[in-house]
């Protein structure tokens, strides 16, 4: 289940869905044609029982383990992350290819990156050889050979990054004892799951898009909320502010994913990881908490601008009078009905607003426009 290049083209043409829900296509509807009415009615009834992705809850983690749920969560909105992959769960296909159990599928992003790294190393090695030659000829004052080295160097830089796929070395298959235990009756066992982050789980559960199951049976919204945020939170709780920011940008149609690798809270993708890089990183800021020092801001900004992204400070602010906040919190504590609980959460979230500030390093003699 890898989004390959051909998938990308196919997905690009489609109107993309940002929620893992089943929709009914009613484009066949023609108001003055009674037959189309019947077709539409049938379609609505046939699709009337929604099948929600199942998320398992075990030892503090939320994850999807069956292909149907994984597919739905990943393809519709890019939720979750393969525990053994960079983002999309591609471990199964990758490993099958590595162990020569199946060669038919297209390359995953991890494999393409490995190829590029291999090429770059090869390029560096060749360049180093030329450097050594150049030094030798310079010492020997051998101008004819120097010119030849210069030509070779030119040719090397020209071909850099050209041969995209052809240069992968065919290596011997090496089945490690660690791999061997995963192969049963010649078939590879899938050990990868799609793990949802806490904010993702809470958001999807709040809007009723997933079923959560634990060993003790189904997990409702309130139970999930208590596992993730507890009920002792304050109006400026950083986990609460992160959740509010997450829900805010998801609601505006952004694909929001973890920004841990870039010293940020979230990354904002316009559509999703298979299509283009994230343009923005988000740092969720409260107003009352002590602000960071300028040195930290500029440190984060250096990381973020180094990967050509824009650093956005997302201020989640609220104007509560304390009694009002406490009353909602207490109602949440006493509430036993999940639907009511969802309404209380919606009420809580509606007291916050989200504003952005873009942090950008300004260089006087470069940024003239």
């Amino acid at each position: 289940m890898t989004t390959t290049v051909s998938d990308r083209i196919r997905l690009r043409g489609k109107k993309h869905q940002m929620l893992p829900v089943d929709t009914v296509d009613l484009s066949c509807f023609v108001p003055h044609n009674p037959v189309s009415w019947a077709v539409c009615l049938y379609k609505v009834y046939a699709g009337a029982v929604p099948v929600l992705p199942t998320v398992r809850f075990e030892s503090g983690n939320f994850f999807a383990a069956d292909w149907a749920s994984i597919n739905k969560l990943w393809r519709r909105g890019f939720y979750g992350k393969g525990t053994l992959s960079r983002s999309e769960p591609s471990w199964f296909n990758r490993t099958k290819r590595r162990l020569r159990l199946d060669e038919g599928t297209e390359l995953s992003s991890e494999e393409i990156i490995a190829q590029r790294r291999h090429q770059r190393e090869e390029f560096k090695r060749q360049r180093q050889e030329l450097d050594a030659l150049e030094r030798r000829y310079k010492l020997e004052e051998d101008s004819a050979n120097l010119a030849r080295v210069e030509k070779l160097r030119h040719a090397l830089t020209e071909t850099k990054g050209r041969h995209a796929r052809s240069s992968t070395p065919v290596e011997e298959v090496e089945i490690r004892p660690e791999d061997d235990v995963l192969i049963q009756e010649g078939k590879l066992q899938n050990i990868e799951v799609l793990q949802l982050s806490h904010t993702e789980t809470l958001f999807l559960k709040l809007i009723g898009c997933i079923d959560i199951q634990s060993e003790d049976g189904p997990v409702g919204l309130k139970t999930a909320w208590m596992q993730i945020l507890g009920l002792e939170f304050t109006s400026e709780d950083s986990r609460l502010l992160r959740f509010i920011a997450y829900a805010h940008y998801r609601s505006l149609g952004w694909c929001v994913r973890s920004g841990l690798k870039f010293a940020s809270d979230f990354l904002l993708y316009q559509r999703g990881p298979p299509f283009q890089h994230a343009k923005y990183t988000l740092r969720v800021c409260g107003v009352k908490e002590g602000s960071m020092s300028w040195i930290r801001y500029s440190g984060i900004n250096r990381v973020v601008s180094g990967v050509k992204k824009t650093m956005v400070l997302s201020y989640v602010t609220s104007e509560w009078n304390e009694n009002e906040f406490e009353s909602i919190r207490e109602q949440m504590e006493c509430c036993s009905d999940d639907h009511e609980f969802a309404l209380l959460v919606a009420d809580l979230v509606s007291h916050y607003r989200v504003d952005e500030v873009v942090y950008h390093r300004w260089v006087a003699n470069r940024n003239r426009e």
Binding site: S59, N61, F63, G80, K81, G82, T83, L84, S85, W91, T95, R176, E178, I191, E192, V193, Q195, L196, S197, H198, E200, S258, L260, K261
Partner: protein, 130 residues
Amino acid sequence: MSLMEIIAQNLVHFHLWTSIQTFPKSSAKGTPHGVVRGVPPKKLSETTSISSTGETESSTTDKPDGDTSEEWVLPLSISDKLTVENIEQIFESIRSVGSYRPKRIIAGLLDDDGSVVYYFIHDGLVKPRS
């Protein structure tokens, strides 16, 4: 799965490390979640560190069996906080379970979406790469 097992699985099946050995925190005292020893598929970047006496030495010289590619990974959760004193304890704890003090360890940070981010922690100064 415990945090240490998650990191160990990530090393074996994502990054293709071999010869993984885990030491729970009951034996590796002072570590928050235990420690993992293993061999990466390709040798990680060599570093030259400067010892407290001012002599430069290669990072791998004091490994007993001459196995130069062995690494130590310290599993951490995103909410763990480490002080310099803790890190010193962890190096010493590795000395007691692994019989030598490594020149560097690798912190493996686990986020709540299952992603693991790795960072080197060196014991002392490291010469910049040429």
